[in-house]
Amino acid sequence: MTGLLPNAFHVARREYFVRVRSRTFVISTVLLAVAVVAVVFLPTLFQASGFVDEPPDIALDVQADDLPSDPAVALQQLLTLAQAAGGEIVGRSARPTVSTTQDPAAATQAVRDGELDGMLTIRRSAEGDLTFEYLSTQNPMSATHQLVTQAAVSFAISDRLARSGITAAESQAIFRPPAFSTTTPDPDGPTQDDYGAALLLAYLVVIFTFMAVLTYGNWVAQSVAEEKSNRVMELLITAATPRQLLTGKVLGTGAAGLTQYLATVAALGIGLLANEPVSALLGVGGTGFPLPALDAWMLPALGTFFLLGFILYSVLYAAAGSMVSRSEDVQQAVGPLIFLSMAGYFVSFGALNEPDAGWVATLSLVPFFSPYLMPMRMLLTSVGAAEILVALAILVLTVIAAIWVAARIYSAGVLMYGQRVGLRTILRATRVSR
């Protein structure tokens, strides 16, 4: 049998340039890039347009005497701390303001008018305990509301402590937070700080893999069916071998897909870089995209799984495309493949919750699932190099087998026209064709 090159290259080059120059490609790439940039800028824009909550502005109406400390200071501290720790999107210059008011009626009106977020009234009951009344139009579940409640509780406790004769210094010692640190049982795994970022990246990897398989696999199937329906296939199959055509088609489409991905990632990068200056320009604080610390080998490993997964699914999509005569019938033919990739996709979402589970480890070696599960495990847990290599080896072997099977189906399918060709007919035909 003839080798793959140079015909696979010629086919891939034609496929790539025809695809990349098509209007559909240009439009979808631009839309994707715009969407990505929009997602990056959305928080900033929301903030700039006032959609995001401003820092709370609260009035204190103190009607009780003999307080152990200034409640305004305590509440202010708590709100500021929460703001700093919460990592919420908040203005850089803006701070929560807590002011003691002498005119409760005016403050009440201000709350009604929305100029103040709330007014906290502090009284002392006949039993001597402090009582709090919070006037606010805010949702009781809102963060500010809960912080105010929390401040009231601790203030009431320190007041009780003061009344039972404990000094302010002793009281402070009581309220000092204990030493608290978090460790994970797995020393090589991502640290707790990194886990959130790693989880986010794992989500993205799974979604991107799924989208690539679905979108670009479909391109491959459509393009094979088109070559059949406009009958150029008969010329191609005379000039080149089925394996050359199949490989070229998958690589050319893959390269076009990758171009679209890179354009999207470039837009993302530009968006992230531009986010800060633009935020500064708009006078709001920007937020970075959290990236976990990755080992150097991780990116190529992730890329390899992505590419192999894409090739595996694409060659089968090409075989499916060769079984129909019209592009309208493609969806029907690729149904089982869509189902398979969906299965991998949903299983990964289950696995994201328990990446350490035994079934996840097992499935991450199984081809068709490994392109989803192994990258996710690599990001979220520590996977031994041997296990990764085994998964890779199985995947590579499956890809080779898939190319072989797909080339047979393809060479039999491309000359069959008429009704949708069943897999049975195809398999019978593969026995006699080359």
Binding site: N230, R231, L235, A239, L415
Partner: protein, 320 residues
């Protein structure tokens, strides 16, 4: 050095597309492959091209089996024309040539040359879908020969062409044959075969039922044709039918065509006319036309049958 198709059989399920088919083509010849629709011509071509594999039998060119020959040995013009509709003419042809390993510079020069020869140089950078059917067919022909194949196989190359384009294509055929190329084509236009082909094969229901030089094939019919015109009335001509071995096959405006069995000397007709004192304006002894040969072998009924069958047959492509 010739193309030998030897005892090739091919079945699609229960349908026998080719049944022990054998014929050979000498290099540098123009060879006509004739047969009713669905007789097995396309299947035969696809097997020669090694797009399909035969169940049994062999194909050799110059003594080498077709499975071992480089792909650029063959040029192919399929019955169902197919090009990328949205690709530009020259770009498309360069791509197809590249698959046969033709250097881009050579391909460009050849493309320009052929477009010029076919009088469509302005269509170089047009999209194929913008071209007329006839012009698309010219592009299809160029696609088949750009890599300078030794054997050119064409399935119905003349169908759908206007007379002017038929003439351009015939000229191209003869030019190729002159350069020593071997041409094999199928067609339903018998006059074209008479004009171009030295040898033919007739395929019927997968079997090669006639094979040989056009002259031998006609001779083997065992009869001759006389074209006769006289100044007299028709009575004389009607009377000729009384002679043993004479049938009137056609009455044209200016002559009558008579079929004579081999035993009957055509001069009998001439003598009979002279004896009656007729003034003879035309007397011509010829061989039966290929069309008659074809109808004789394949049968008018068989053709009608096939055509009715085809209309209801959706999988005709696999049988050709």
């Amino acid at each position: 050095m010739s193309l030998v198709v030897d005892a090739v059989t091919k079945c699609f399920g229960s349908v026998v597309a080719l049944d022990n088919a054998s014929f050979s083509v000498e290099p540098g010849r123009i060879f006509g492959l004739l047969g009713a629709n669905g007789a097995g011509k396309t299947t035969c071509m696809r097997i020669v091209l090694d797009i399909l594999r035969a169940d049994s039998g062999s194909i050799t060119w110059d003594g080498r089996p077709n499975t071992e020959l480089p792909r650029r040995t063959w040029g192919y013009l399929p019955e169902e024309r197919g090009l990328y509709p949205k690709m530009r003419v020259a770009e498309q042809l360069r791509f197809l040539a590249s698959l046969y390993g033709v250097a881009d510079g050579v391909a460009r020069a050849e493309i320009d040359d052929w477009l010029e020869r076919f009088r469509i140089p302005d269509y170089r950078d047009r999209k194929v879908e913008e071209l007329s059917k006839g012009n698309q067919q010219k592009i299809q022909f160029i696609a088949a020969i750009l890599h300078d194949p030794d054997v050119l196989i064409m399935d119905e190359p003349f169908s759908g062409l206007d007379p002017l384009n038929v003439r351009l294509l015939k000229e191209a055929f003869l030019a190729m044959a002159k350069r020593g190329k071997t041409l094999i084509f199928s067609t339903h236009q018998m006059e074209t075969v008479e004009e171009l082909c030295e040898e033919i094969a007739i395929v019927d229901h997968g079997r090669v039922i006639v094979h040989g030089s056009v002259r031998d094939v006609k001779r083997a019919m065992g009869r001759r044709v006389v074209r006769l015109a006289t100044e007299g009335n028709d009575n004389f001509i009607a009377g000729l039918q009384a002679l043993d071995g004479v049938t009137i096959s056609a009455r044209r405006a200016d002559f009558v065509e008579l079929q004579l069995t081999a035993e009957l000397d055509p001069e009998t007709i001439l003598r009979a006319a002279l004896e009656r004192g007729e003034r003879i304006t035309r007397f011509e002894i010829t061989e039966p036309s290929l069309e008659e040969v074809f109808v004789e072998h394949v049968g008018r009924r068989a053709i009608d049958e096939e055509e009715g069958h085809l209309a209801s047959l959706s999988r005709k492509d696999t049988r050709g």
